[in-house]
């Protein structure tokens, strides 16, 4: 895989990205480039800008890009609405998936899947075709079909919510999946299910960003690159060894890499 990488065009390019919310600058020049098939981990202290970065890529309206560029397969995505970004293949797995009472999970998944399929110029699925598809994908996250009849995330346990995110990722087959602390709040069994789900979905055409605090997810899914973020910037990039070093020494050890200027 590594040898091919050089010939591939990057899927996602983030170039000198600045962003703010409510006049507070949160991202201060982020650079990252992800090729197809790569798995990147982003680590860093709480409040360093990891979640903000993921929301900005997905187009959250509370944040404003004040400088730099985000490109998906060479196209600037800034003018795109969140739904257009999703349709073109950006997926954000939320740290705290929100509950939406009254809206059936099944209907939601079907509408979302068809929106993506429409963009890909694939035929939209009717109720029956979709049920077949979703049952197949449920296996990946070991969820019961009864799960589909409930309202979106309503009354789901922490683990169920995260598995529902991975189910969505499986259905939408994104180009770039950003998984924001998908491992947080999971017990060991749930973590294994989620991690194995991600591995099954990952393929050579898709790039994955794992935002995490913990080595235990990275034990399950070995990243190609590990980035350490601090103060709105990526201050150090390495391979999976870097995560182990962080685990041993803590974030204080990376403070020396912060550009004081």
């Amino acid at each position: 895989m590594k040898s091919k990488k050089e010939t591939k065009k990057p899927l996602l390019e983030i170039h000198d990205l600045f962003a703010s919310t409510e006049n507070l600058t949160i991202l201060k020049g982020v650079n990252i480039s992800i090729n197809p098939g790569e798995i990147h981990a982003i680590m860093g202290r709480n409040g360093c800008g990891k979640s903000t970065l993921s929301k900005i890529i997905a187009g959250h309206p509370s944040y404003e890009i004040t400088g730099g560029k985000i490109k998906l397969s060479g196209t600037d995505i800034e003018p795109l609405e969140p739904e257009e970004r999703a349709q073109s293949g950006i997926f954000l797995g939320f740290q705290y998936p929100i509950e939406i009472p009254g809206v059936s999970n099944l209907e939601f998944l079907r509408v979302a899947t068809n929106a993506r399929r429409k963009f890909l110029k694939k035929e939209e699925l009717d109720t029956f075709e979709f049920e077949d598809l979703v049952k197949e994908k449920l296996e990946i996250v070991k969820m019961e079909p009864t799960f589909l009849n409930r309202s979106i995330n309503q009354g789901f346990s922490g683990g169920e919510k995260k598995r529902n995110e991975i189910l969505q990722m499986a259905l939408l087959e994104p180009k770039i999946a950003i998984l924001d602390e998908t491992d947080s709040g999971l017990d060991i069994d749930a973590l294994r299910i989620v991690a194995s789900g991600i591995k099954k979905i990952a393929n050579e055409n898709c790039g994955i960003i794992l935002i995490t605090h913990y080595q235990r997810l990275l034990d399950e899914i070995k990243p190609d690159f590990v980035h350490v973020m601090a103060n709105g910037k990526i201050i150090k990039t390495g391979n999976s060894e870097l995560a182990l070093e962080l685990e041993k020494n803590g974030y204080e050890w990376t403070d020396k890499f912060i550009d004081k200027t």
């Binding site: 959250h60 309206p61 939406i100 009254g102 809206v103 939601f108 979302a112």
Partner: protein
């Protein structure tokens, strides 16, 4: 909040039924007094008993005061500034649809209620009411084969006076409340339905109320009687043109269900709601009540209330017969400066009576939306049960929602359950749906219809489609 404006745009879709039909009308002079009431009665060639009914109601009305307990604010209504009778000028005696003014037929065509034989809806019989008079009733003959009477109330007063004398005012007496008394004095037209014993009405019946004139009120009166072991599903729709003045609509609907009979009454109310500044719109003061007289009888109200500047409406059930059942399913959507104070009364008198209340209020813009409901369990209603669920959804941060539940029980052996909730469409919920590729408008509409699902499931098929269309009219539009 970036998205709040977008939500506002979506729910502010312009009113599509706001056109005026240019037609010559016969109007009487403004104001209300005994002479006016005699004039209305004589225009309709009414029998003596009905004139007395009206005059008696007028006396009671004069002695009453306009209620002010609802959570509504509006400028005082000048009852002398209203025209109480307005009818499109046409031939005296109309025997077939061919004689109806084409402009009127065109109007109902435009509203999606075609009346002519070639175009009319095949599965629903329609009584079309234009201002103060019924224009046409479809499928009358076919229904008559089953013994079903479906006609305008004016016709029923002439042709079925035994039934009218027996039941008119038997559920809602003239003295019931201010607006019911006013209606009893001046009501002009409306629909009459009689379902004989053991008959299941072969098709849905429907009334469509159209207010066309800007300065006249509409005071229609509907009476539905379901004899033993009969059943009927009745649908009601209403629209009005856009005027910058307020038009008063004070209707009375009475339902009577005998042993084992069932009546399902569904409304989609889309009167003109006024503009964004709250100018104009219909003042909708309506008294609707059903009497479950018979054992195991059932009356079910479902309503989708989206229009009117002011809505004051409490479709209720009086559960007299043993094991009778009352139901109320309501969606009320208010936007801009609309005000709605709506709900129900479930009066349990007979033993083992049951009632269900599901109310969904959606408030957007600067509107105010209140649920007001009474559940009363009388001393003889042993084993009575009620379940109430009242949910409110707020869109934006300037709308208001209130819930006023009243529970009175004189019977220890009874059960009353009440659940209430309030939620808001949050930016994060919308973003969640959008981030899965779902368009903003569709996301809002999914959340709103998800919220209303329990009620929509209760609407008859023919109507569910219309309600859906109506909500999407209000919820779709130009984004951004």
């Amino acid at each position: 909040m970036v998205n709040d404006n977008l939500v506002d745009n979506i729910v502010s879709e312009p009113y599509k039924y706001g056109f005026v039909t240019e037609i010559e009308s016969e109007k009487i002079s403004k104001g209300i007094n005994e002479d006016i009431i005699r004039l209305i009665s004589s225009k309709k060639n009414e029998p003596e008993y009905l004139l007395n009914f009206r005059l008696n109601a007028f006396k009671k009305w004069q002695a009453m005061e306009e209620p002010d307990w609802a959570d509504l604010g509006y400028e005082a209504i000048d009852y002398q500034d209203i025209i109480y009778y307005s009818a499109p000028k046409q031939q005296e005696k109309i025997t077939s649809l061919d004689e109806v003014d084409p402009k009127l037929l065109e109007t109902f065509d435009k509203l999606g209620i075609p009346l002519t034989e070639q175009k009319r809806l095949t599965n629903v019989a329609v009584d079309a009411v234009f201002d103060s008079v019924s224009i046409a009733t479809t499928f009358k003959e076919q229904l008559a084969e089953h013994g079903v009477i479906f006609c305008s109330i004016s016709e029923a007063i002439k042709d079925h006076s035994d039934l009218i004398e027996k039941y008119l005012g038997s559920v809602i007496p003239a003295s019931d409340n201010y607006f019911a008394a006013l209606n009893s004095a001046v009501f002009s037209d409306g629909s009459f339905v009689y379902i004989p014993k053991n008959v299941t009405c072969p098709m849905d019946l429907s009334s469509y109320f159209r207010i066309n004139s800007g300065d006249s009120g509409q005071f229609e009166r509907t009476l539905i009687i379901a004899e033993e072991a009969s059943s009927v599903s009745y649908l009601e729709g209403c629209t009005a043109p856009m005027f910058d003045t307020n038009t008063l609509h004070a209707a009375v609907v009475e339902l009577v269900a005998l042993d084992d009979a069932s009546i399902k009454y569904s409304t989609v109310q889309n009167w003109y709601a006024g503009n964004e500044q709250g100018v104009g719109g219909i003042f909708n003061f309506v008294t609707k009540r059903g009497k479950c007289l018979g054992k195991r009888s059932k009356i079910s109200w479902s309503q989708v209330e989206t229009g009117s500047a002011i809505t004051w409406k409490y479709p209720s059930c009086i559960l007299i017969g043993e094991e009778s059942v009352g139901e109320f399913y309501s969606v009320a959507l208010t936007n801009n400066l609309q005000q709605a104070d709506t709900g129900t009364k479930m009066i349990h008198i007979g033993p083992k009576t049951k009632s269900t209340i599901v109310s969904k209020g959606i408030s957007a813009g600067k509107s105010s939306n209140s649920y007001r409901g009474l559940v009363k369990i009388g001393s003889k209603a042993k084993g009575a049960r009620n379940y109430s669920q009242c949910d409110s959804m707020l869109i934006g941060d300037k709308a208001a929602a209130n819930t006023f539940p009243y529970i009175q029980s004189q019977q220890p052996n009874s059960e009353v359950e009440h659940e209430a909730s309030t939620c808001r469409i949050s930016e994060d919920q919308l973003f969640y749906l959008q981030s899965r590729g779902i368009e903003f408008e569709e996301a809002v509409s999914m959340m709103v219809s998800g919220f209303c699902r329990d009620v929509f499931n209760q609407l008859p098929m023919e109507f569910a489609a219309e309600a859906d269309k109506l909500l999407s009219l209000k919820l779709e539009g130009s984004v951004g």
